[in-house]
């Protein structure tokens, strides 16, 4: 073969390839030694040949595999592909003796000594291979990076994996070596192969990465590491199908690959087989234990234990009492386990302990007590509720008392995790609708997710379209038989009576009340009504079996089915006539109560009972009241459910009308058009002119909702002519209002000012006519509406004239000075509208009028920005509120202050944020609202941290934490950790940053994926910045990991997520630090292109910093443009920070300073120097502010103004405004 050995005791960077022959032991048993040896020899020759041909250095054979070193990552990958292809060819020629090899590749520093290679990288490579399945090639991130462009070879990201002995998860990629066809087909085929493999019953489940169980994996590792000081235990609770066994398999994997590998003994209790010591009988009699006993030289104690449990008497056994015999068994088993622990730690893993026999549980309790100092890891999985769990409860209590256990409850998956699991199973993502459907059907139970995905795959209901799995038949897919049988097995444990009761209850719904069930049963079974408690007692067993869940106290319902499939299974066995009769009985019971809340239920049950008339009338009433109660989705659902029962055109029209109203609230234009099509068709059937015009009006509004404004204008104008012809003033009013909205392209009450292309004259004409008609018809509400829209149109005219003046060269300060007079007309109209809305008690209308007023006040929309407008709204709101109590007023003001604080903080106006934040904090304290107090204080802490004022940040953090203590919740705890993380970052404390953000990640948990993503993102960026200032390599690695975690966390969330951009920005810095320039620039570009800088300005600064380092730092093609844009942005930002001290502190923060340097930006002189008008008293300051903002309508004395102008040394109000802005007194 001519394989060369590398030089002795040398060191270097190498790519390490591990191969492992799968199932070699089984093959020996199956084929016999001679035939198996022949296959092994073939395998050895084949692999040695390929390694040699690929330029690898064969270091050693490992029995079932090889380790080889390569100087090139690409050569290692090519060799791996050649190996798999050669094996494929070999298997084609020997179909009766196929072999299958897993390959793992990693790169890193390797030390050669005594003909062997050592080093962390070598360990990792073997762990990577262990993660592969047969026929699979997995490579680590570093190999992926080193390989660069892989040419025709395709690689897919397989996600993050725990590799034993490594603290962080590793991202592994699969090399798709079967690629032979066109690139598109290759990917599709590889994905299909991967998904077929995932569903292959012979393929070990533990091979894939574990989804959503980070906390549990960490607990297993912690407990495994802690057994050096004695027995440690972990109890995993969870319902059927939640993945307890999967976690147990992962624990076995972790224990066997630990630094000091554990002897693992695992056994599962069986639901149907019971008997004395059955759990330990099956354990001790397994071939695996025999092998382990041989290895641990513990054959004798194991034999004795086996004999004792099997009842085979030994010397001196005869005279013992049953109790003494029992103790003897306990002792023998304890000795056997103790013998196992002599050389290595032992992991004892018991699955499904709820089914274990009492003797075995007693024995485990005995072992725990007698072997408490032995290096034993005990893992128990158990269902949280079960009739047979009394013994296991005692065991858990024992462990708890000994303080050696953690009890964790496995939760159902959220949608994000469901998506992740499906990706792992299917090898490619599923589309949104499919994810939604699978998640809803499985309700996040992992086993159901897997089985549904498998059933759909087998039925070809899932198709791989353009790299994404899409469900082709969203309805009609059946429940997988595996799920069915799991449920059937659970139902089979119920005796007949409770099962029949449960089935009847199922007709009531997923959730039900005993007070509904009792009278229904009395009717249907012709019996006297039973007491609620009697029924509850009968349902007890269903609760114990986990079929039913008791609703918490205070809920509307008493019980719910733990999964809807359980109810579906029960109903499937219930004869249709009986179901119909029960529905009828429910309708009778509900009908006798005349409870409005139950109308939709009444409609549904009436329909199911066959009473269409009652169903329709109830549904209509229910749908209308749902709409009034602002529950449009519910309204639509009621209509959709009951519409099939409505046969008369009038009934259908009434229902479609309610549905259109509901769809309008939800802004679902296209659905409205479809819904109105049926209404239009029915119109001709009933021949009603009123209905015809109504439908046209509705169509005009629906056209607007689909942005088909031309159609909307045509329809509205047409209706207006019809109204004029008929002399129908009311219809004309409606048509004019509709026309106005179509012309301004905005719903009533929603526009701030008309946009460029709006025909203001036409809109003005339509609304003016509407105003006339409303007054003539005495409709105050519509009068107010028309006035408000006319105010907006008038404001729009003024804006257009200002823009024109500016284009002609009028200065911004001059325009500011002209302010008040220009907008008088608009303000008067808005004011009139506001008064009418107030009179009518229409709060929404009043607010929309206030907002239009606020917009009229802002002469120059760019001078104050949104913060200014919010302040205007607040001022107007305070001055004009009508009949509200003092406490309401105080509450509203506190919220408004907090909102301005938040806005300013999120838009980097720290001075305004501090001012309003403190006020909000005090207002919240005054109100005793500790929640708002905590939030305001936390916001203050963040604001101070943002410009490096760490002492103040800490002081406010303490206030926040103290307030948070009064309103404890996981969410609040998470917030406090986020604030602490940010504060630690400002202080440069990298370990604290890690601790706090990681706690926030834990606290967010699986129920709050956005919270997790946010915390990962903060950890990534802050750590990255700390690396930039300290140069500590470990920080860079940590930042990179957190960035990957961020992307993992956001992978299944929709929307434009700033966290993703930040993660890419961090990865850009990481790649740049590793001299992977091309990748760094690419990441930087992705970061910039995926972030809306105007919305997420806080994140944007960070992303600019990171991307700027890479792109400007490396003189990338866009460097100059980017520098220019950053400089411009920083200029705008510096104008927004009015307080010169805070401004210079903000620009003094290391990352901000670096950003300014990269962009060549310097703070303008006049902004840098404080022009503090120290000699102005409070009154004068207030006057100057009024002049500047033009937002208050106080009439001030002209002499006061003149005095002020001379004091400031300026000649006009315009110059005063200029002075005030430069001096930064806007918010003081």
């Amino acid at each position: 073969m001519g394989l060369s050995q590398p030089d002795a005791a040398s060191q270097g960077t190498q790519t390490i390839l591990f191969t492992d022959l799968e199932g070699s032991t089984d093959m020996r048993i199956r084929l016999g030694d001679a035939a198996a040896n022949q296959v092994f020899n073939e395998h050895d020759q084949l692999i040695r040949f390929q390694i040699d041909a690929g330029g690898g250095t064969d270091i050693k054979g490992l029995g079932d595999g090889f380790m080889a070193l390569f100087t090139s990552a690409n050569n290692a990958i090519d060799t791996a592909v050649s190996i798999q292809r050669a094996i494929e060819e070999r298997n084609a020629a020997n179909p009766d003796k196929p072999i299958s090899v897993r390959i793992g590749i990693n790169s890193g520093d390797v030390t050669y000594a005594k003909g062997d290679a050592h080093g962390t990288a070598v360990h990792a490579a073997s762990r990577v291979a262990a993660k592969a399945q047969g026929d699979q090639i997995l490579i680590s991130q570093v190999v992926f990076d080193l390989a660069g462009s892989l040419g025709p070879t395709r690689v897919v990201d397989r996600g993050l994996f725990w590799l034993k002995g490594f603290p962080e998860r590793w991202r592994l990629y699969e090399v798709l070596w079967r690629a032979k066809d066109a690139p598109g087909d290759r990917t599709a085929r590889a994905v299909r192969d991967a998904s077929a493999r995932a569903f292959d019953p012979s393929s070990p489940r533990s091979a894939g990465p574990i989804v959503g169980r980070k906390r549990e994996l960490r607990a297993i590792e912690e407990q495994l590491a802690a057994t050096t000081s004695g027995l440690r235990a972990l109890v995993l609770q969870g319902e059927a199908g939640i993945g307890k066994t999967r976690m147990l398999e992962a624990a076995v994997d972790l224990a066997e690959t630990a630094e000091t590998p554990y002897l693992t003994l695992d056994v599962a209790a069986d639901e149907e087989l019971r008997g004395p010591f059955l759990l330990f009988r099956s354990l001790l009699n397994s071939p695996r234990v025999a092998a382990i006993a041989r290895e641990a030289m513990a054959l004798e104690p194991v034999d004795r234990a086996r004999d004792a449990i099997g009842g085979r008497s030994t010397d001196g056994d005869e005279g013992l009492s049953p109790q003494e015999k029992m103790l003897r068994i306990f002792d023998e088993v304890a000795s056997a386990v103790a013998a196992f622990t002599r050389d290595r730690p032992v992991a004892l893993l018991f699955d499904d302990l709820q089914w274990a026999d009492e003797d075995s549980i007693q024995l485990i309790r005995y072992l725990v007590r007698t072997l408490s100092t032995a290096p034993i890891f005990l893992l128990i999985t158990v269902r949280p509720y079960s009739e047979t769990s009394a013994g296991s409860d005692k065991l858990i209590a024992d462990l708890d008392r000994m303080r050696v256990t953690q009890v964790l409850r496995l939760e159902r998956f959220n949608r994000v995790e469901t998506g992740e699991l499906l990706l792992n199973l299917l090898g490619a993502p599923v589309d949104d609708q499919t994810l939604q459907s699978l998640h809803a059907r499985s309700e996040g139970v992992p086993f159901f997710i897997e089985e549904l995905a498998r059933a759909y795959r087998e039925a070809d209901a899932l198709q791989l379209m353009d790299g994404t799995w899409t469900m082709t038949r969203l309805s009609g897919a059946t429940v997988p038989s595996s799920v069915q049988s799991l449920i059937e097995r659970r139902l089979a444990q119920l005796s007949d009576d409770p099962r029949a009761l449960l089935a009847d209850a199922g007709v009531l719904g997923r959730r039900f009340k005993l007070s509904d069930l009792a009278p229904v049963l009395a009717r249907i079974r012709n019996e006297t009504q039973r007491q609620d408690w009697e029924l509850a007692e009968e349902l007890d067993m269903a609760v114990e079996l986990g079929l039913l869940v008791e609703e918490p106290e205070g809920s509307t319902y008493d019980f719910s089915f733990s999964h809807d499939q359980i109810r579906a299974s029960l109903l499937a066995d219930l004869p249709r006539r009986r179901q119909q009769a029960i529905h009828g009985a429910i309708a009778e019971v509900l009908g006798s109560r005349e409870d409005e809340a139950d109308l939709s239920m009444l409609a549904y049950h009436s329909m199911k009972a066959g009473d269409s008339e009652k169903a329709v009338s109830c549904a209509l009433e229910a749908a209308r009241s749902a709409l009034i109660g602002s529950a449009p989705e519910e309204s639509i659902r009621i209509v959709d459910t009951t519409l099939p029962a409505a046969s008369e055109p009038a009934e259908r029209i009434a229902m479609l009308r309610v549905k259109d109203d509901a769809l309008a609230v939800l802004d679902r234009g296209m659905d409205r058009i479809a819904n109105l099509a049926e209404m239009t068709a029915l119109t001709s059937a009933v021949a009603s002119p009123e209905l015809e015009t109504e439908v046209k009006l509705r169509r005009a509004s629906a056209s607007r909702a689909t942005e088909d404004y031309e159609a909307a204008v045509d329809l509205a104008a047409g209706l207006r002519s019809i109204a004029v012809d008929r002399g129908d003033l009311e219809l004309e009013l409606e048509a004019c209002l509709e026309l106005g909205q179509a012309l301004t392209r905005s719903d009533i009450g929603e526009a701030y000012w008309p946009l460029g292309e709006v025909d203001l004259d036409a809109a003005d004409e339509a609304y003016s006519r509407a105003l006339e008609l409303a007054r003539e018809l005495g409709s105050r509400a519509k009068e107010a509406v028309a006035l408000r829209e006319l105010a907006v149109i008038e404001g729009g005219r003024v804006r257009r004239s200002i823009i024109a003046a500016e284009e002609e060269g009028t200065s911004r300060f001059e325009i500011l000075a002209m302010g008040p007079t220009l907008f008088t007309g608009a303000k008067e109209l808005a004011e009139q509208a506001f008064k009418i809305f107030e009179e009518l008690g229409d709060q929404r209308g009043a607010m929309s009028a206030l907002i239009s007023m606020a917009y009229s006040h802002v002469t120059d929309p760019t001078a104050h920005g949104m913060a200014g407008r919010i302040e205007h709204v607040r001022a107007l709101h305070n001055s004009r509120r009508g009949q509200v109590t003092d406490s309401q007023r105080a509450k509203e003001d506190a919220l408004m202050l907090f909102s301005i604080h938040t806005y300013a903080r999120l838009h980097i106006q720290p001075d305004l944020a501090l001012l309003r934040g403190r006020e909000a904090f005090e207002a919240a304290r005054g109100l005793g609202d500790r929640w708002l107090e905590a939030l305001a204080a936390g916001g203050m802490s963040l604001t101070y941290a943002s410009f490096g004022a760490t002492a103040d940040s800490i002081a406010w953090l303490d206030r926040a934490a103290s307030a948070a203590m009064s309103v404890p919740s996981t969410s609040m705890a998470r917030r406090v950790e986020m604030w602490r993380g940010a504060c630690s970052a400002a202080r440069g404390e990298s370990e604290e940053v890690k601790t706090h953000f990681e706690r926030a990640i834990d606290l967010a948990g699986t129920k709050n994926p956005a919270g997790q993503a946010e915390a990962y993102c903060a950890l990534a960026m802050e750590t990255c910045k700390l690396w930039a200032s300290t140069g500590e390599a470990a920080l860079l690695e940590r930042a990179a990991q957190a960035a990957h975690d961020t992307l993992d966390a956001t992978g299944f969330m929709r929307g434009q997520l700033p966290w993703e951009s930040v993660a890419h920005a961090v990865l850009a810095v990481v790649a740049d630090a590793d001299d992977r320039r091309e990748e760094a620039e690419e990441e930087a570009r992705i970061a910039l292109s995926t972030l809306d800088g105007l919305t997420h300005i806080l994140h944007f600064v960070n992303v600019l910093w990171a991307a700027g380092r890479v792109l400007i730092g490396n003189q990338a093609p866009e460097a100059n443009d980017m520098a220019q844009q950053i400089a411009q942005g920083l200029g705008y930002l510096s104008m927004n920070i009015i307080d010169p001290e805070i401004r210079s502190k903000w620009f003094g923060v290391e990352a901000h300073r670096e950003l300014a340097q990269l962009a060549g930006f310097e703070l303008p002189d006049y902004l840098g120097s404080s022009q503090e008008p120290a000699d102005l008293d409070e009154h004068e300051l207030a006057l100057l502010r009024e002049i500047t903002s033009r937002s208050y309508e106080t009439k001030h004395d002209q002499t006061e103004v003149t005095d002020l102008l001379s004091k400031l040394g300026v000649d006009s109000e315009t110059e005063a405004i200029e002075y005030a802005i430069k001096a930064g007194i806007r918010w003081r």
Partner: protein
């Protein structure tokens, strides 16, 4: 009980704290006026939604207590 998020676009002035604080729950709506629409409120916890409500300068976001959607799943 669960909560339903309702955006009142008449009160909304498009300041956007909802989108900044909860970018997976809210997004900008298509159209002429920059106002938000709901994306996926289930990705965030209820307390954050309450913060979003408090941070909206015009109180244009309302949380309504509703029965868990499952309950109406008859």
């Amino acid at each position: 009980m669960a909560v339903r998020v309702v955006i009142d676009r008449r009160r909304c002035i498009g300041a956007g704290p909802c989108i900044i604080l909860a970018p997976s729950a809210f997004q900008w709506r298509q159209g002429d006026f920059v106002k938000p629409e709901l994306l996926d409120p289930s990705t965030v916890d209820e307390d954050l939604l309450r913060e979003v409500v408090a941070a909206c300068p015009t109180q244009a976001i309302v949380l309504e207590e509703v029965l868990d959607p499952v309950s109406s799943d008859i």
